[in-house]
C-alpha cells in the first residue's frame, strides 16, 4: 500500500463531498453496499439523449469509499452511457491518484459499481460479471 493513501485531496472530498444529496425526479437510482464493512453508496442519475445530464450520490462509509464516489460523479457528468460502461477499475484509481492496496480496493470501487448498476438498470440490460465482481 502506498505510504499515504489519505492525501489532502481525498480527505477534502470526504469532508466536502461534491454532488452529495438527492436529485429531483431522477431517471434511475441504484444502491449497493460492501458486505465486508457495511459501506453504502446510492447514486441518482438524470439521463438525456444517452448522456448523464446530472447525478448525485449519498452514502455512509470510510473516506476512501465516499471520496471515490464523489470524484467519480464529477468525472462522469456529461459522459455518454457507453463511455460509463467502458469506465474501469484503473480509471477510478487514476482519479484517486493512490494505490489503496488489496484490502481497501473494494472501498474505492463501490461508487463505480453503483454507477454501473444504475446505467445497466436504466438500459434494461443484464449486469455483467465484471460489474458484479467490482465489490
Amino acid at each position: 500500500m502506498s505510504s499515504d493513501i489519505y492525501k489532502d485531496i481525498i480527505l477534502d472530498y470526504y469532508r466536502n463531498p461534491r454532488n452529495f444529496g438527492d436529485l429531483q425526479d431522477p431517471d434511475v437510482r441504484a444502491k449497493d453496499s460492501n458486505p465486508l464493512c457495511g459501506d453504502i453508496i446510492e447514486m441518482q442519475l438524470k439521463i438525456h439523449d444517452g448522456r448523464v445530464e446530472d447525478l448525485r450520490f449519498k452514502g455512509k462509509g470510510c473516506a476512501i469509499s465516499q471520496a471515490s464516489a464523489s470524484m467519480l460523479t464529477e468525472t462522469v457528468k456529461g459522459k455518454t452511457l457507453d463511455e460509463i460502461k467502458a469506465f474501469g477499475k484503473s480509471d477510478v484509481l487514476n482519479l484517486l491518484g493512490i494505490d489503496p492496496g488489496p484490502t481497501r480496493i473494494k472501498c474505492a470501487l463501490l461508487g463505480l459499481k453503483v454507477l454501473k448498476l444504475g446505467v445497466y438498470g436504466y438500459l434494461g440490460q443484464a449486469i455483467t460479471e465484471e460489474v458484479r465482481q467490482l465489490v
Binding site: M1, S3, D4, I5, Y6, D8, L11, L36, C37, G38, D39, K60, G61, C62, A63, I64, T103, R104, C107
Partner: protein, 414 residues
C-alpha cells in the same frame, strides 16, 4: 489453593512466537487482533510438524504402530483439554472445527430434539453471530421465540432482564462468557442457576474466555460450552464442544458417517459412545494434537498469570486512550469486569480508515461490526475499531498504538 503469582516474562514469551520477529510496512509487527485469532508459539508449530513428519496416520482403526501413536496423541490432547476447563470426564470433550460448529451442533441435535412450538430461546444482545444465527434457524424451523437480554449503561447484562426473560417457557439460554466487542465478563454461574431453576439449559460461548482466563466448566455448572483452538495459540480448524455427559449420551448424533457408528446394516445403524458419536469422518488429527500443545504452553505460564498480564495491559491502554481527544471506548471501565478487548471510535474517523492508518505503522487491529450486528444496532454505532491483547503484548506497543491514533486524529482534523 492460592496460586502464587509469578509476574510473566513477556520478552521471553515473545521469543517463542516466530511471527513477532517480522516487519509490516517496514515497522515491527504489533499484533492487536487477538480476539480474531492468536499467534502461535514455536512449540505448537513444531508439534504439528512432528505429527506429519513422524507418525501421521488415521486414528482409532489402524492396527499398526503409526496409527497407535497418532490415536494416543489425539486422545491425550482430549484429556489435556478436559482438565484445562475442568470437565468431569474427558469424553465430555467433543472435537469440532470451531466454536461456531460447536454451537450449531447443539442447535441441530439437542435443539431439534427438545425445542418446540411456543418455546423460548434466550440469548444476550452481545452474542456473536455464531451464537445467534443457529438459534434463529432453529426457531424458524420449530416456531419457537428468540429473546435477548439487554445491557445497561455500564455495558453489563441487565440483572432484571436475566431474571425476567428466563422463564418456564425457556428451553435454553445461550450466553457469551466474555464479549468479543465489549470485553464484558458475564456472570455465567448466576445465569446457570437462573436457567436451571426454570428447567432450561445453559450454553456458554467461551471463545473469548478460555484463551484468557481460568475457566471451570464444572464450577460454572453450564450444560454446554463452546470454544475455538485458534484463539488460544492453537491451529485453525479445531474447536471444542464441552457437554455434560448425561446430555451428550442422550442427544441424537450430529453428522453421520465413519468413526461415529457402532454397526451399519442396510436396515439402519447404531452409534458409538460419546465422544465419538459426534465425530464423524477422519477428524483434524494434527489440529487436536496442536491444540493439546497450546494447552501445555498456557498451563506452563498459568492462566491466572495470563489474566493478570492482560488486565495490566488493558488498564494501561484504557488510561492512555482516555487521553486521546475524541476517543470513545465501549465496554466496562473496571478491568475486573472485562477481558483484554477494547473497542473504540475516534471522532468521526471511519473504523476502516483508522485500521489502514494503524496498519501503515505495523499495528494490526480489527474494524467493522465484529460479527455482532444486533449489539451494534442496540448501541447505534455502525462500526467500531477493536484492539485486543494477549500474553505477548507490551505497554511499549500500546504507546506506538496511541501515538498512531494521535497521528490519525491530526490527519483527519487538518
Amino acid at each position: 489453593m492460592v496460586e502464587k503469582l509469578a509476574a510473566i516474562n513477556v520478552l521471553k514469551i515473545r521469543e517463542d512466537f516466530p511471527i513477532l520477529k517480522r516487519q509490516v510496512n517496514g515497522k515491527p509487527l504489533i499484533y492487536f487482533d487477538n480476539a480474531a485469532t492468536s499467534q502461535k508459539p514455536e512449540t505448537v508449530i513444531d508439534t504439528i510438524d512432528r505429527y506429519y513428519r513422524e507418525y501421521n496416520a488415521n486414528i482409532h482403526r489402524g492396527i499398526h504402530k503409526l496409527a497407535e501413536e497418532a490415536t494416543l496423541a489425539h486422545e491425550e490432547a482430549r484429556e489435556k483439554i478436559g482438565k484445562f476447563i475442568n470437565a468431569r470426564h474427558s469424553e465430555e470433550i467433543i472435537f469440532v472445527r470451531n466454536a461456531t460448529e460447536a454451537m450449531n451442533l447443539v442447535a441441530l441435535t439437542w435443539g431439534r430434539a427438545n425445542v418446540g412450538k411456543g418455546d423460548k430461546i434466550v440469548l444476550t444482545i452481545m452474542e456473536h453471530h455464531s451464537d445467534i444465527v443457529p438459534w434463529q434457524l432453529l426457531a424458524n424451523e420449530k416456531g419457537a421465540q428468540v429473546e435477548f437480554i439487554k445491557i445497561d449503561e455500564h455495558f453489563m447484562l441487565r440483572q432484571d432482564e436475566i431474571h425476567k426473560l428466563i422463564d418456564d417457557k425457556t428451553k435454553i439460554v445461550c450466553v457469551t462468557q466474555a464479549s468479543n466487542v465489549l470485553g464484558t465478563i458475564n456472570p455465567i454461574k448466576e445465569i446457570a442457576r437462573a436457567a436451571h431453576q426454570s428447567g432450561a439449559l445453559l450454553l456458554v460461548d467461551a471463545a473469548q474466555s478460555v484463551p484468557h482466563m481460568r475457566v471451570d466448566a464444572k464450577d460454572a455448572d453450564c450444560d454446554f460450552m463452546a470454544f475455538s483452538g485458534h484463539k488460544m495459540l492453537g491451529p485453525t480448524g479445531i474447536g471444542v464442544l464441552y457437554g455434560k455427559r448425561e446430555l451428550l449420551q442422550n442427544m441424537p448424533p450430529f453428522l453421520g458417517g465413519g468413526e461415529m457408528i457402532r454397526e451399519v446394516h442396510t436396515t439402519g445403524a447404531s452409534w458409538k459412545d460419546i465422544p465419538y458419536k459426534y465425530e464423524a469422518g477422519t477428524p483434524n488429527i494434527a489440529g487436536a494434537i496442536g491444540l493439546g500443545a497450546a494447552v501445555d504452553y498456557l498451563n506452563k505460564i498459568g492462566m491466572q498469570n495470563v489474566h493478570e498480564h492482560e488486565k495490566e495491559i488493558t488498564e494501561y491502554a484504557l488510561n492512555r486512550m482516555s487521553e486521546v481527544k475524541g476517543l470513545v471506548t465501549y465496554g466496562p471501565r473496571d478491568v475486573k469486569s472485562r477481558v483484554g478487548v477494547v473497542s473504540f471510535n475516534l471522532g468521526d474517523i471511519h473504523a476502516h480508515d483508522l485500521a489502514s492508518i494503524l496498519d501503515e505503522e505495523g499495528v494490526a487491529i480489527r474494524s467493522g461490526h465484529h460479527c455482532a450486528q444486533p449489539l451494534m444496532e442496540f448501541l447505534n454505532v455502525p462500526a467500531m475499531s477493536r484492539a485486543s491483547f494477549y500474553i505477548y503484548n507490551t505497554k511499549e506497543e500500546v504507546d506506538v498504538f496511541i501515538n498512531t491514533l494521535e497521528k490519525a486524529r491530526k490527519l483527519f482534523d487538518r
